[in-house]
Symmetry: C2
Subunit: 226 residues, 2 copies
Amino acid sequence: MTEAANERGAEAETTISDGVVDLIGVLAYGELSAFDRMSEDSRTAPTLSGRAALASMAAAEIGHYARLERFLAEHGIAVEDAMKPFVAHFDAFHASTAPRSWLESLVKAYVGDGLAADLYREMANWLDQETRELVLEVLADTGHSAFAEREVAAGIAADARQRDRLALWGRRLLGEALTQAQYVVAERDGLSELIVTGSGDLSGIAGLFRRLQQGHTKRMQVLGLG
Amino acid sequence: MTEAANERGAEAETTISDGVVDLIGVLAYGELSAFDRMSEDSRTAPTLSGRAALASMAAAEIGHYARLERFLAEHGIAVEDAMKPFVAHFDAFHASTAPRSWLESLVKAYVGDGLAADLYREMANWLDQETRELVLEVLADTGHSAFAEREVAAGIAADARQRDRLALWGRRLLGEALTQAQYVVAERDGLSELIVTGSGDLSGIAGLFRRLQQGHTKRMQVLGLG
């Protein structure tokens, strides 16, 4: 047990494991990043209603963030401390995958949120009931997916060359996301313990990764990019 | 009565005047602009908690925006149509007053929100009860003011030269805001009618402007820049 976990024990009624703190921390920073990304995209939306729609989805992510912050606070943890280990990896992912167009940013949000949701939903099964319900609650789609599907379909219909370019883009996003996720897990003992224990063994982890890739393939097909 | 107002009459139970549509439209675009500004500022916040705090305030502005959108929809008006006449003026104001630092952006939000709130609060007195309550509700401070006061006080304490620079900045913001506000009123018949009728006469308008300037002076003093 780390020092931080010992201090937490002194402050809070129930302690949560380092792995759960990591998981909630990475979820919280994911929400804050999603807010950033959607609010930035809203500024480049081609219409005023697209702009307002994205701003509303960004605001909903902050509602999820507040839930996670409260959960951690109830267990004596500052959300900033829980998020800090993940800032650099998220930011590296975003820097290496900066969208160059409105459609690229929609595909990125769609693919990234989908991957993250699949991963967290699997992990939720390994948690106690309270934490599981929290994780499932903040994974609720803020409406971005349906919005992205409509916009991408319209964009491909208007310009067929977009299709191939966006299909390549989706493939690159998957690669970059899995790379950063592997760095994160390698660095965080609590998180990797949670994953190893939860998935059972090495073949369990391989199965998890396979399912994540299958989910990605399915999403690209839904977007018309498969 | 404009054509738009006639169409509205056919769709909705109660019609609202062109001036009220303008007022709600300008408020709605103000909320969307405030969201943009705060979400952008959140990205440059010097700390992770400052970043989360600004993101939460930005999200609260979108809550206000949704209230205004619903009110207009209940009267058969699309919020996009009501906002459209004001987009260029708001964007011109923001382009001519792009902050060059974290403290400049906080002062801008503080001064801009304060001015807007003073103006809308006066105008709320001229409205029917339902509309008045809506306007007062969406003017509720999202917590930004107290946050800005703390950050600016800390910034001035750390670097005294900042004080003079920020004081000049506040003066320039007032000038640019009043310039754009006058353009808006000159272009929108419904809005200028609302203001002339509400304030009584030309001396009433002069009094309104005087009070806006006094409110600004007071705010600059609260920030330690007066």
